[in-house]
């Protein structure tokens, strides 16, 4: 299978200048590959650096060293050394990221929050909204909420809007940070179905999932993040 993600020897630490320049090592020697259609689940206790690795793959955290290779428009691009414009282009076309929390934009209705990534890549507004409706329905968001801004929704509803927004595009790489964390069984299984569909469509997925049942349902492989623990 084609490798969509190729990480080699990536390292990340934080230097806390406001705390007297304390250096907090996060991860070191991160190396793994993810193929198209494969779902890799990062495992390890809280604080092991799972979310940091996702953020490094998304280009949100900058690496101290190493490579984050992403197959973008037919070429392996190293996000660790890419220009901001290239990272933006990768995010538009290649990597989708579902964070734990929805960063809601004031006044924008839920349906448009979900449809926006598609519109941004050139899909017509009508078609994007139709697909957004389909996803919101599958994730059991009542229709009466679609026209309201999600900032007024409950935590679980916001998370499902967030998932719908993350799953609407056809990005070949998807990063999921606790997608089922605050969901009930019914909604969690809807998300598992969505993930399975993505895998069948050849999407490479890196996920953080604490629920072992769900992990077993979606994971092709797990990568133990504790092996990347950076010595303090």
């Amino acid at each position: 299978m084609t490798a969509m993600i190729e990480i080699s020897d990536a390292e990340k630490s934080f230097t806390m200048h406001l705390q007297g320049g304390v250096r907090l090592p996060v991860v070191r020697g991160v190396s793994f590959r993810v193929a198209a259609g494969e779902c890799v689940v990062l495992s390890g206790p809280s604080g092991a650096g799972k979310s940091s690795i996702l953020k490094m793959i998304f280009g949100n955290y900058r690496c101290d060293s190493g490579r984050i290779g992403i197959l973008h428009e037919g070429e392996m691009l190293d996000l660790a050394s890419a220009e901001p414009r290239q990272i933006l282009s990768v995010r538009r076309a290649t990597i989708g990221y579902v964070s734990q929390f929805l960063r809601a934009v004031p006044r924008v209705p839920a349906i448009d929050v979900v449809a926006e990534p598609l519109i941004a890549t050139g899909t017509s507004r009508v078609e994007a909204r139709e697909r957004a409706q389909g996803l919101l329905r599958r994730l059991n968001i009542p229709e009466r909420l679609w026209a309201l801004p999600p900032s007024t929704f409950s935590g679980g509803e916001q998370q499902r809007v967030n998932i719908a927004r993350g799953f609407i595009s056809d990005h070949p790489v998807l990063l999921l940070d606790e997608p089922t964390a605050s969901l009930d069984v019914k909604n969690a299984s809807a998300v598992v179905d969505l993930i399975q569909e993505k895998k069948h469509a050849g999407i490479a997925i890196v996920a953080i999932v604490h629920d072992e049942g769900i992990r077993d349902l979606i994971a092709d492989r797990t990568v133990d993040v504790t092996t990347f623990a950076a010595a303090a």
Binding site: F14, T15, M16, H17, L18, K55, G59, N60, Y61, R62, P84, R85, I87, L88, V105, P106, R107, V108, A120
Partner: protein, 266 residues
């Protein structure tokens, strides 16, 4: 500096700053600033008052002469030209057509005693529009886009609220479909609720029109919502730059960390 327009436009920078410096006597307001801005890209310049960000905006928009360095702009013919070589007529023409400038104080960007319709229509008349009906029609549709009741088209902006004035200023700037907009603290001095509405509007317009923008702000929330990239300035220098979420979520420089840690939680 002339180069042939062979590559597609969006792969070529729209605005290029090379080693910009500005001194006032012995005081350095801006030191060695270089960057390229691409079509459709929004760059936020953040920093405290006195960090040189407003000076930088004036240098970029050719309102202030550089002490050394160069600002170049890719004109609609695809050629990148040194702004200093354009001459005043050329620079002022850019300002009426291909550029916008949104002031913090709308009174500086609007004609306060002239009706909203004429405020929006002025740029059209300046480029030779000579049909009242069409000018008014275009002004109306822009008022709608910035969510101003068209019934207020004949009222002067001095009768408008602060938020409306700012939205009118945006309409006045965007009516000629510029490719680059400079914004100086566009939400400064507005109530928080009014700010949110304005930011949302600007974000949509920038996206819909594919505008490039340089936004000077001390408000990191504005930078996060509007911009793709951030430059952090301190003492006239750029101390950190990168993708907006990189710089705000993973700040490297001590000063940036201080700025980020100073944001009150929402």
């Amino acid at each position: 500096m002339v180069e042939a327009p062979d590559a597609p436009m969006h792969d070529q920078p729209l605005l290029v700053a090379e080693a910009l410096c500005k001194n006032y006597g012995r005081v350095t307001a801006c030191r060695d600033v270089s960057f390229s801005l691409y079509p459709g890209e929004v760059l936020a310049v953040v920093g405290e008052s006195g960090s040189g960000k407003s000076t930088l905006l004036q240098l970029l928009s050719a309102q202030l002469a550089v002490t050394s360095g160069r600002v170049s702009y890719r004109m609609r013919d695809g050629v990148l030209r040194d702004l200093a070589s354009l001459g005043e007529a050329g620079r002022r023409f850019l300002f009426r057509t291909d550029w916008g400038y949104v002031h913090q104080d709308p009174a500086l960007g609007l004609r306060m005693a002239v009706s909203a319709g004429a405020n929006v229509g002025e740029r059209l008349m300046a480029v030779g529009w000579n049909h009242y009906g069409r000018i008014r029609q275009t002004a109306s549709s822009w008022l709608e886009r910035v969510e101003i009741d068209v019934a207020r088209i004949d009222d002067a902006p001095r009768t408008y609220s602060g938020g409306m004035r700012q939205r009118l200023q945006i309409a006045r700037n965007l009516v000629t479909e510029p490719r680059l907009v400079f914004m100086d603290e566009p939400t400064g001095g507005l109530d928080v609720s009014v700010q949110a509405r304005l930011l949302d509007l600007m974000r949509n317009l920038v996206g819909e029109l594919g505008l490039a923008a340089v936004v000077v702000t001390h408000d990191l929330a504005v930078a996060r919502l509007l911009s793709h990239r951030v430059m952090v300035m301190k003492g006239g220098q750029v101390i950190e730059t990168g993708l907006t979420d990189q710089v705000l979520d993973d700040p490297h420089e001590p000063y940036t960390q201080l700025l980020v840690s100073s944001i009150l939680p929402p």
